[in-house]
Symmetry: C2
Subunit: 326 residues, 2 copies
């Protein structure tokens, strides 16, 4: 039942070659003689051989695994963003034979890399005050951020042009006739929150509109609902900095007797699943999270292979998805 797994040694014996040759066949080294290769392949399949990863890792010094690091508070697993990142990462990681390890412990991350359990990490939902990005870059450990870093550290990151996205929202609201604008912001200790607010303000100013109302939110549904209660009554164009918050904003607007989009037009940000569950369906700024996640993996793998290469960043363009709320 619990018989020992087949080793390279046994395959070599069956095939009548050396372990080195079997290893070469397994790893697809091109120089192996055709006939020999076939003999070995046959031996592999008859023995049911499967290489032991720990042994390989020990000599190659590669874990064959990357980490997806969440903030310590576990609420973020419920954020739709998380699922989108995962579904963007999985398909690109798979053909590479790399594992995706989920962790919520920032404390563990450095050790996990040092122990050789992780080749590198992707950090999502980082706060400006988070020491981890700097820690990792200082130690020259492979890391990719899912947004512009809060402090100017040389680090590889992927982002969407957040400010441009906010401008897209404003332009649309204005085009639809809105003049008294307001925004529900994201958390301002994170760069996406900051950049969306900045982009919003700049666009409003560019249109020569009066100073907009700004109410603070935190990227959660409840935060959105709370913020909505603090909105001035005469707003006719609202930019909510995330769809999840918007799903909390809309019922409050309805309670306050405001019809969407007739009385107030609303644009969200993300184009995540909650946008569709909104009533009415939410017009929103789309960020291509799945593509961004795939790019993060590529950049990370690149950094794992060449840690000395300079850091870089990739910024995606947002697009507007028009539905019924604006």
């Amino acid at each position: 039942m619990d018989r020992r797994p087949v080793t390279l040694e046994e395959v070599a014996r069956v095939a009548g070659v050396s372990r080195a040759t079997v290893s070469r066949v397994v790893n697809g080294v091109a120089t192996v003689d055709r006939e020999l290769r076939q003999v070995v392949e046959k031996a592999i399949s008859t023995t049911g051989y499967v290489p032991n990863r720990a042994a390989r890792s020990l000599v190659t010094r590669r874990a064959g695994a990357i980490g997806l690091v969440l903030p310590d508070e576990d609420r973020t697993v419920h954020d739709p963003y998380f699922g989108r990142v995962v579904s963007g990462v999985l398909p690109v990681i798979r053909p590479l034979g790399v594992q995706l390890v989920l962790t919520a412990s920032h404390e563990q991350v450095v050790d996990d890399i040092r122990q050789g359990r992780l080749d590198g990490v992707i950090l999502i939902h980082t706060h400006d005050a988070d020491p981890l990005p700097r820690l990792l870059t200082r130690a020259n450990l492979p890391v990719v951020l899912a947004a512009r870093p809060g402090k100017p550290v040389p680090i590889t990151y992927v982002d969407v042009d957040q400010a441009a996205g906010a401008a897209l929202a404003v332009d649309h609201l204005v085009a639809r006739g809105a003049r008294r604008l307001a925004t529900v912001t994201g958390p301002l200790e994170r760069t996406p929150g900051q950049d969306r607010l900045r982009g919003f303000r700049e666009a409003v100013a560019r249109h020569g509109l009066p100073e907009p109302a700004v109410v603070h939110g935190d990227f959660t549904r409840e935060g959105g609902a709370a913020a909505a209660r603090g909105l001035p009554a005469d707003v006719d164009g609202l930019f909510v900095a995330s769809d999840l918050m918007a799903s909390g904003v809309l019922p409050v607007l309805r309670q306050r007797g405001l019809r969407v989009p007739q009385d107030v037009r609303v644009v969200g940000f993300d184009d995540s699943p909650p946008a569709l569950e909104c009533d009415p369906p939410l017009t929103t700024v789309r960020q291509p999270v799945e593509d961004m996640a795939a790019e993060m993996v590529r950049l990370l793998v690149e950094r794992v292979e060449r840690p000395d290469r300079p850091t870089s960043s990739v910024v995606f363009d947002p697009t507007l998805v028009v539905r019924e709320s604006a």
Copy 2:
């Protein structure tokens, strides 16, 4: 910059002891002499030693990692259930020093275990036709299912008493005066879908109520919306087999001019985040997914340590969470 990591060997040299002794200290073997232990601990901290996991895995034959296996279609990462499982698993896995590996490739799973990359796996969202559970159990590989298996295979699983949960919903609807009941089911090729429907039917019969309307859903929001359109107009009590579906059902009900709860009372299932985003907030049957996930990890770890032990199952009790929809 890229200096070689510190090894046991070096720590031993610094401490003036053998590698074996350092290893014992690192692994907390109690028999080490107090003074020696202190010398070694000091050497560990001055050298900044961190054990290499691959080397350890190679001899212990333990990956120190378990897999969370999603179905191949990636839609399920957007299901709120997924996030709840992750947030239940993470805290219990952490003190154990075990990694959580996410995978959506059923094909890979068996190999990953054989390669020693995974000590065992937790399977979620399995369909009755899914060959993986049987495959794994046959090979005597450690596996835990997140629900009763569709076919009677000897397998370890955790479940909530789905039928009892549905009965809770029916009892509540009836207590609130509903008499013309209906249900939107989950996918019937999965046991939770089957069991919730069975429990619903049995409870309706127990109350002596007429044959209820049964409309098929698939645990998605869109599926819920579609199902809602097929509901008879005179229903006054509706059991929707998941909160996510309910969030799709409610807007359709509203469109059809039905007020909730005045015209039709609605009870969901799960008590997941979408229940709160519903308008009105959803009365629902709570399944303690986080606790269930924690239990799955415990059972899995147990099986990894003693694969020959008989399989077992743990069934949690559902509870009713009353909000405004019923």
